[in-house]
Symmetry: D3
Subunit: 236 residues, 6 copies
Amino acid sequence: MRPSGRKTDQMRTISIETGITRHAEGSCLIRVGDTHVICTASVDERVPPFLRNSGLGWVTAEYGMLPRATTSRTRREAAAGKQGGRTVEIQRLIGRSLRAGVDRVALGERQITIDCDVIQADGGTRCAAITGGWVALKLAVNQLMRAGLVTTDPLVDPVSAVSCGIYAGQPVLDLDYPEDSEAGVDGNFVMTGDRLIEVQMSAEGATFAREQMDALLDLATAGTAELAAAQRAAVA
Amino acid sequence: MRPSGRKTDQMRTISIETGITRHAEGSCLIRVGDTHVICTASVDERVPPFLRNSGLGWVTAEYGMLPRATTSRTRREAAAGKQGGRTVEIQRLIGRSLRAGVDRVALGERQITIDCDVIQADGGTRCAAITGGWVALKLAVNQLMRAGLVTTDPLVDPVSAVSCGIYAGQPVLDLDYPEDSEAGVDGNFVMTGDRLIEVQMSAEGATFAREQMDALLDLATAGTAELAAAQRAAVA
Amino acid sequence: MRPSGRKTDQMRTISIETGITRHAEGSCLIRVGDTHVICTASVDERVPPFLRNSGLGWVTAEYGMLPRATTSRTRREAAAGKQGGRTVEIQRLIGRSLRAGVDRVALGERQITIDCDVIQADGGTRCAAITGGWVALKLAVNQLMRAGLVTTDPLVDPVSAVSCGIYAGQPVLDLDYPEDSEAGVDGNFVMTGDRLIEVQMSAEGATFAREQMDALLDLATAGTAELAAAQRAAVA
Amino acid sequence: MRPSGRKTDQMRTISIETGITRHAEGSCLIRVGDTHVICTASVDERVPPFLRNSGLGWVTAEYGMLPRATTSRTRREAAAGKQGGRTVEIQRLIGRSLRAGVDRVALGERQITIDCDVIQADGGTRCAAITGGWVALKLAVNQLMRAGLVTTDPLVDPVSAVSCGIYAGQPVLDLDYPEDSEAGVDGNFVMTGDRLIEVQMSAEGATFAREQMDALLDLATAGTAELAAAQRAAVA
Amino acid sequence: MRPSGRKTDQMRTISIETGITRHAEGSCLIRVGDTHVICTASVDERVPPFLRNSGLGWVTAEYGMLPRATTSRTRREAAAGKQGGRTVEIQRLIGRSLRAGVDRVALGERQITIDCDVIQADGGTRCAAITGGWVALKLAVNQLMRAGLVTTDPLVDPVSAVSCGIYAGQPVLDLDYPEDSEAGVDGNFVMTGDRLIEVQMSAEGATFAREQMDALLDLATAGTAELAAAQRAAVA
Amino acid sequence: MRPSGRKTDQMRTISIETGITRHAEGSCLIRVGDTHVICTASVDERVPPFLRNSGLGWVTAEYGMLPRATTSRTRREAAAGKQGGRTVEIQRLIGRSLRAGVDRVALGERQITIDCDVIQADGGTRCAAITGGWVALKLAVNQLMRAGLVTTDPLVDPVSAVSCGIYAGQPVLDLDYPEDSEAGVDGNFVMTGDRLIEVQMSAEGATFAREQMDALLDLATAGTAELAAAQRAAVA
């Protein structure tokens, strides 16, 4: 039933390649099927003004797409002179999601910026960015711990994210672009262990029933567990 | 337990005053407790380029706050030279939510713009904007029907929205500002009849369990039903 | 002769409702006929850099219109990404006018920002904004005096403003929108007591004689006196 | 009494050099004392959209200052990324003033843009810009008439402008910068023949009496007459 | 003498991997030592307005850097709200350089946009972008030729670019970042076959002699020949 | 062969008028044929942040054109809301070129900003701006030396610039606009004494041979020597 031939509860192939750029404190190239995202973590010993002398750390994120990550070329946001509403929404989501899984006291008063740049898009880029972003963050934290700058690991369970939706009337896991562009109802689920961090279900020109919501939550719980295993393997 | 003394499942007082401005095709001032929002609907016989000659209508929304709607003065976005990320997120949500409740074929090839301007804020402004925005939209549609420009009512059940969250460890309905600023987990629920349109649960520095998610959905179902009754009364 | 049936020297009905928003130190909704403006005063104990350690206070103003305050919808300035030339001119005028009636030594080193937001427009919005802005300012100053932060009242006579113009060849007082859009010559007069603060006579594709100027000054003197009485009543 | 030693009713030396740039259809360098402004007129056979097929012409203006036209360097507006409020006010004034002296039917459906760029500033730049702008406009119109594109002269009396104010308690004509920066009350007067086009009296932290207004109008009437003579000589 | 141990006339290792993204008509990842750039070519059947109905094609380019392509994180241009002067200079150079090697009649009335995004920077990013950009362009042109849309190959010799400079008093080829940041005199040379397209020699706080200019031209001629061989191999 | 009748190695008439504005520390109006540029130098005792407490001075430049400096009117950059890519390239070139001729230790920790505003354009505006900019800079430095603020002259040989290109197949010196718009290959050469500072050869849709490059360098060497003589005369 799915264009890719996957089962309704089947994730795409996941691959996470770490250490892909020489300058960043942490980095990876995450591939979820044909969605490819470069994630880097940059450590800055200064925090934003509202946190000075608080002893608390901060994690923030920025998101971008190369112009030809998409089927047809998308205008470069730097040339357009601003980040679009979709970009701003996504990078706020990534930052909020990763912060939910961080012990900010243990991190100490420093900021880590996660940059997520989509090299090739095939649906689910924000979820891949969160999942890959956590890996880059963990690698940067590991470096801080090796350097003795952080003593207690501020990260416990991986934070991972997956999109689900109602496609052709059925709840399906990990939408690719052909599914995403057809689904009237879809959403993003961010989890850590068996706890929820963010649920964003959205309908465009449609509505959905409570039981469908429940089915999607079940799919997402399984999918994020699979992603978390890949994250743990990548940072081991 | 709640600062306002309300019960956990108790909405604030709702009031919807219609016809509050002379120029708009539909308008209301919605008050949900101390949150006050002016909503207007403006009909434009032209649609955006991507819909020309499609026979389909469009509903879109814009959102703003007067600078002193808030406890301390907030910088005017027009003076800052752009709409902030929060504003963009909110107005996209309002537009998407209202469109989910519209039969765009019945509306015909025209656009209705809903402007939601917060006069006084005390939490839940985006939910009040959706709820009041639907009333303004319905009044404008009624005028189109009286003029014979629309023959089948494109709106059936009201679209209404409420925020819920975990406050002091307990799921509560219709957060006001003192609750909202304390809650680590909260969200917005948009419903029409017993169907869901949008669920946005979000945690800042926290996580939540599946059962809490279920409890919040129960509260939201009851709250939006109460709002729908007020909407029906207002447009009767 | 006038579309509204008013006499040439007749003002529209004036109403000033105070205390209309909970957060602002001073606020009112002024109605001059069908022109309705919300004015709020926000006190900030810091002054702009050029006044630091001068002992002098500052009053500034910002102006906006809800998109559907006008007959057809006007583009939201925050969405357009900047305040238009007309807005900038108006808010500079409001600030300058109010400052002319303030003893800045008595006010002390603090800033009061007057926000004037037009809810419904029918001509003369800048004049209503000045008149209502003074009321909001006075209420905020009264609060500062009750709190003992200001000991000598920095405001004496109300500052009020009215537009006049040559309509159908005759000098008329307090132009409404149908008159304003026809008048080739019109202007705004700001006064306090019997003194002038600002005179802005402007002709679009027309010119005017010195005697007409004199007649308009006479009308404005009477009109602002009537407004001042309403202002005094509102703040009493 | 005046820093320059001038009498209260004495203009600065006026010089208008025409044809100062090779490309423009009309141009001049106007010097009013130490205020020097380059004015050019550019003819465009297209009009703005709102005038298409109306048969009416349009005159508009833009204003700028070289960064070091002022005592200390002023930031370049192109580098700042926008025109300041003062610039926008001034160029709207110039355009409106010049249009008041144009027969737009006789001009025919074309647009003339007047660019006024201040090379050296010593007070009264907007008045010099209007006065010089009219000369550039007239020269461009003459060229159109010689080419047979315009048959009836759309310009009759020169449009000229002068600033006046209350300096050291006395009404004075044609303020230079040392006077302008001291005067609490000053204004700009635009006239054509014995008719008024624009009166902009403004007080910063001060007020003025009706008789002072009258005295300034008298001074301005004499000053603009002197400017008109210089304009006529320049275009002869 | 060189930090990398290279000889003065020795290029870094060059690698060009093609077909690295699924959506673009042509793409490659070029690595010149530790400088890595993703280049994509996007074909658009429409040309810019100034070329409509001219029968001529157009090639243009855009350039960007991922924020953490650099040693310390660089602010994202989309977030800053504009492309910096350096970016604009570079992308104009890339477009101009590639156009010099294109027969625009043979290309036909269509536009090809080359996007060059630096993944990792170690000096010479604009030269790598030109060299890799030509490869992406050639691959896109090959696709057009296979589809029969272009019949005569509009590209003959590869266009390639290299930087040279005076380092520690000696002319050296293909500067890496440690050399580039020390060299007071350096430049970029774009060539095709034995012909020059662009020479940009620049000194910061220094000057150079005519003989040094000649030595650098010799080095660049050899270096671009080596790059051209790698380009030919990549597109074979 | 040249439209102006000049010989291939003949410069246009050069004139440099100094002290043309009262406020600037140094100023001139340079005319190279029909290209006229006003150059001013503004001394600021503060340096940019990256130079604080370094003991080093800084020279920077800004460039602009009056809208009607060109054959047809060019849009004002301040109105467009940003400086175009061409402007940014040019002002970076001017600043870099002038700095190459300055002993920044001798200048001391202060900044001089050179503003170059084109009053009339006929090709070669950036070269005229560099040449005239050096004169303004020198005059400002002379004033600093007379005031005892600078003791060793930080300027030795003049910095001057000229454009050359291949016109009608032949290398020619000092392109005017009709030549510049025809030449497929042209460039700018900045020199001081017999040393090079900047070489920017560029081809649009063309290429050039090494011998042509050599011929252009010969022409530029002679041309800049002639300009240097005029600069020395102007500041004597």
